[in-house]
Amino acid sequence: MDDTEAVGTKHEPPASSAASGERIVIVAFTASMIAALALAVVYWRGGQPQLEGVLLAVSLGGIGVGMVVWAKRFLPAGEITEERGRMASTDEEVASFTQAFEQGEQAIQRRALLLKLLGGAVGALGIAALFPIRSLGPRPGRGLFDTAFRNGVRLMTVDNEPIRPEDLSVGGVVTVWPEGHVGEPDSPTLLVKVEDPELFRPPTVARWTVGGIVAYSKLCTHTGCPVGLYQARERLLLCPCHQSTFDVVEGAKPIFGPATRPLPQLPIGLNQAGELVSTGDYREPVGPGFWNRGR
């Protein structure tokens, strides 16, 4: 039952190192005990994280060092060879299994039918068990392709207030949502004001801007992080996740970083009350690419 053959050399360590080895083990275990007691005292008196850490390290480490030195110095060492045992069963074991298996078969007439029905029952249950997958929720369908922006929908800040061009200052960005959908994850939009509308160049659509104010989707076209950082002097929007950089005056096209598609521009205008509104939805899906985005 045991295939180990302890063939090879076994040697006892020399007696001189035995004494020093024992000393190390004694010191290690004693230090461990003292550290553990000190740890309990420190904890009792209010605790101090660094001291707790050090004492815990000495306590556990002392046990470890003691055990390792004990094993290395005092347990038998040397080269031992063990034959690879058989992994597969012996012929006798297979035969006795076959016999035990077949012994279970009494006189069954319609064996094939019974087996098929067993397979059918288990298979049917397995198929039925797949149906709860539907509970994972509806497929996104066209949900990824549009947002709640429509012609005339007011742009609301995070405090659910409308916003006017005067409220924005040059060099600042404000995040807005469609009215009634504040906080919705697919539609955060950045309003950026530049000092001179003449700065806008294609592919920025000029008729989608209001004065020097342009609106871009806040969702990075790389992996969807909110592009929250604005370098006002260079007029660049920076995504904090992977440092994709978008040029505000050139249609938010990416000039650095892993993003390959520009941030979609939201067409904006003014309503009767002088508040900023969207004049339509984004013309392309926002955010990162997805499988059927091109269709």
Partner: protein
Amino acid sequence: MNQPPPRATRPRRVARWVDDRLGTAYLATKALRKVFPDHWSFMIGELSLYSFVILVVTGVYLTFFFDPSQAETTYRGSYEALRGVEMTAAYRSAVELSFDVRAGLVMRQIHHWAALLFLATMVVHMARVFFTGAFRRPREINWMVGVTLLILAVFNGFSGYSLLDDQLSGTGLRIGYSI
């Protein structure tokens, strides 16, 4: 072989009690006689194992104090810089663990380091297994179990630091959500 039977000391009686019920002598002999390579690199898997044990132990301690709740609340604990700040209950419980629970910070730190070591030693261990060819027959199933463990550990680690609701977890979740 006419020696008298060994003295029935307490350890021997306990061992005999266990063996009478579990038949442990056979397994124990196999364990003691197991031939195992002497090189230190074969211990790296044990580093992973004990990292995991430490993760479980410190994790159990932390679960007594962590509040996995998204409810908005105000911090009123002993850390001045955050007092009065609105935060989720999850983050508040983490800050309280650091400042108001005795040895809480040590447990958090140990848990964090153990998690890092866990993944690092798993990768190094996998490299050792690969370069010593220990994944070959008859140990292919072992290798597949190991790869599964690595994947599970990665997801476990990600979900673990996402619980805290701090800057790192929020950013990480945002990225995961976008994938």
